[in-house]
Symmetry: C2
Subunit: 259 residues, 2 copies
């Protein structure tokens, strides 16, 4: 093993068999040694869940020069924790999550297991990127992303990222025209508007199925959603400090409450 | 039912039987009509998970003047969605989550089901507060919080919160001296440092147990962790925009990558 090759930890939230994950492995193996840790089950909408109440089982399923593949019964966040703490011989130079089937732009980041893994890595001082495609198709075409993913990843490997910042990268799905370029932007305030469909199970008992539509009420040109809708890749520098800093001062009057 | 009483939706992540939840219900019932929707199981570390792959069953377990209690097999985020969309006659004036057994200060917010519920409410335009106590004891004393919780909640009911901002409130556990007051602060960058304990199950198969210690590498006086350690309640105005805004400009050079 060439000691100087970057050590790259990969995970995702669509489970080990996802096409987007396999594409990411192929791309990352051209850049470094890869340790893949994926989950037995699909972990979409598992957000930043981690496993604190159940046993976590891990198994090595493949090993060859420059590549190791593990699977576990945990969440994407567990995969990151396991990877840098237990399964890798050294701290990874980079953690990459995806390529997600489905976009993680706007406020969908909040629910995303893919981005959960990226933020977990970032919180632990690791350099991390999440890649997602604006298509839920399990057989989606990812080939139009090769150059973009390689170029973005190479720049991150070369230049690093500021402490406490990770990158959330989303791509438009393949269309008739080429992707126009990259926009560095803010997370749009658009959101899922869900509704519960009332159903009845085989015992006649009522249950709910969650369905949703995406509500685009913030598509200013500086947002990730605008970029995607105009056939650009979006990069949102993302952090785990959720303080609404500009409201600290206005709320100082709460300090005078008699408690 | 008095039509003018505030309609308050309560949930938590410690399960329906938690002492902190019952205390919160008692307090909130003095301020308004309460709909409680809690989960069958403990949902700590479930973060912003929601249920998109399984059936959600909900049942009404108690009903009296000004109070309804539901339970479901979902997550705290599901409880909020169900509450304002399906189970309440009108949009709640306030969503309150907690009182969590264990603090949700610093970066622990990222994992918290309690705060997941609060952020979910906030994302959907609802006024929301999370309350947590810096003690994991299931039988912790919550009585020293009565006035603080009532005063903070009354102010929020009277004045509202800015769009896109919710409050993450943490309290020190009961000590020998009275709580000193309230600090409005930022989320500390302290974090859990976990390690995996290697164990063997009854079949001799190795598994991992996640354990952790809390690493306090950021306890400046403007942080929530400092406040708690000095016997103050902490209020962090919290948002769901995770963009690292000051890094958008520095990253603009990514837009010139050839993709």
């Amino acid at each position: 093993m060439n000691e100087k090759r970057p050590q790259i930890l990969i995970t995702n939230d669509d489970g080990y068999a996802a096409k987007g994950l396999r594409k990411l492995v192929t791309l990352m193996r051209t850049l470094g040694d890869v340790v893949l840790i994926s989950t037995d089950e699909v972990m979409s909408a598992k957000s930043h869940s981690c496993t604190i109440r159940e046993k976590i089982y891990v198994r090595l399923v493949q090993e060859e020069e420059g590549f190791k593949e593990y699977r576990c019964n945990g969440t994407p966040v567990d995969c990151v924790k396991l990877g840098y703490q237990k399964l890798m011989a050294q701290k990874p130079d980079l953690v990459v999550s995806g390529i997600n089937h489905g976009m993680n732009a706007a406020t969908t980041v909040v629910y995303s297991g893919t981005i959960g893994a990226v933020i977990e890595a970032c919180m632990n001082g690791l350099t991390a990127i999440g890649y997602s495609l604006f298509s839920l198709d399990p057989d989606a075409d990812f080939d139009h992303l090769d150059t973009a993913i390689l170029e973005i990843t190479k720049r991150v490997l070369n230049e690093g990222l500021p402490n406490g910042v990770c990158l959330n990268v989303n791509f438009p799905k393949r269309g008739d025209e080429l992707m126009k370029g990259i926009k560095v932007c803010r997370q749009a305030a658009c959101r899922w508007v869900e509704y519960f469909k009332e159903q009845f199970d085989e015992n006649g008992q009522q249950y709910y199925d969650l369905e949703g539509t995406f509500e685009s009420d913030d598509i200013a040109p500086d947002t990730d959603l605008w970029a995607l809708q105009h056939n650009y890749a979006s990069i949102v520098p993302t952090c785990f400090d959720w303080t609404a800093h500009r409201y600290i001062e206005p709320f100082k009057n709460y300090e005078s409450l008699s408690i």
